[in-house]
């Protein structure tokens, strides 16, 4: 059963083109140089694309920071304004209250005097 198998020529039925192995080293070294150049170019391209991305990010970052600063100043300004207005209102209210107190005081004194005068007259 194994006879046919044992009789098979161990030589591979494959061939190569004439002179394939001649000058293979030179061809291969030239391909390696090409590959290295292309790897280097890719590297430079990647670096450039990264640089563009970094610049874009930096510009965006500055813009966002500027907007943030403007926003903070606006909020602080608004708060100061509100505080000032509140103080003015409080001051005005206090002044008004003081005036009313004075008037009331004056009115109260006059009423007492009148009541006393009335009492004196009745007597």
């Amino acid at each position: 059963m194994g006879t046919e198998f044992e009789n098979i020529d161990r030589k591979l039925p494959f061939e190569t083109p004439d002179g394939y192995f001649e000058g293979f080293e030179e061809r291969m070294m030239s391909r390696i140089h090409d590959e290295e150049v292309s790897v280097e170019l890719n590297h430079i391209e990647q670096l450039n694309s990264h640089r563009h991305r970094i610049i874009r990010l930096a510009v965006s970052g500055v813009a966002v920071a500027a907007l943030l600063v403007i926003g903070i100043y606006t909020v602080i300004g608004y708060q100061n304004n509100v505080n000032e207005q509140a103080e003015q209102i409080i001051a005005a209210t206090a002044e008004e209250e003081a005036y009313y107190d004075e008037v009331n005081d004056a009115l109260g004194t006059r009423e007492i005097e009148e009541a006393l005068a009335q009492l004196n007259f009745n007597e």
Binding site: F5, R10, P13, F14, E15, P17, F21, E25, I32
Partner: protein
């Protein structure tokens, strides 16, 4: 030859002498690596592509080669992985064809102008093609290259026992196909 290859390692890892040493390395190994790859991918053009990719990988990684195994074994391993990756990519590209992948490979092999076999050899190659890729590789390394199981084990990362079993099964399958 192994010794000559190992001696090249210091020159290969030195930038100044690297190119010259690499040319020498290719001179010493190109035939063995080519035939190892050719037996896996079958067609000359494919073997040429895979061999070139193998050397490019060796060139790029030689600096970091730590010498855990012999340089020659390491290169064989790279060639094996490159060949199997090539076959996997080819298989993925041919998913849509109605033919079985093995039939397609046989067709391509027989159409290759650098395939020259008599009837028995053709039948033999077709029988080899029915083996799973790794088993086919083991069969080729043992049958055609008469490689030691120890060396095969270092290249494939499989135990010697498993390789022996795989080779035995492969031989039985091939015998069965050839004798019909």
């Amino acid at each position: 030859m192994d010794n000559e290859i190992e001696k090249l390692l210091p020159s290969l890892q030195n930038m100044k002498t690297r190119e010259r040493a690499f040319s020498e390395l290719m001179r010493l190994t190109k035939r063995a690596l080519y035939w190892h790859i050719r037996k896996i991918v079958l067609v000359h053009e494919d073997a040429d592509d895979v061999l070139q990719n193998t050397y490019i990988k060796v060139w790029r990684s030689i600096e970091s080669f730590k010498g855990e195994c012999q340089l020659y074994t390491w290169m064989y391993r790279i060639a094996t992985n490159e060949s199997l990756t090539f076959l996997a990519q080819q298989r993925a590209r041919n998913v849509s064809t109605p033919l079985d992948y093995e039939d397609l490979m046989i067709q391509r092999m027989e159409a290759d102008s650098y395939f020259d076999a008599d009837e028995l050899q053709q039948k033999f190659q077709e029988a080899i093609m029915t083996l799973p890729e790794k088993q086919r590789m083991v069969f080729n390394m043992r049958y055609f290259d008469e490689m030691e199981y120890k060396e095969m084990s270092e290249i494939t990362g499989t135990s010697e026992g498993a390789l022996k079993a795989s080779y035995h099964i492969a031989v039985e399958k091939i015998k069965k196909i050839i004798t019909g």
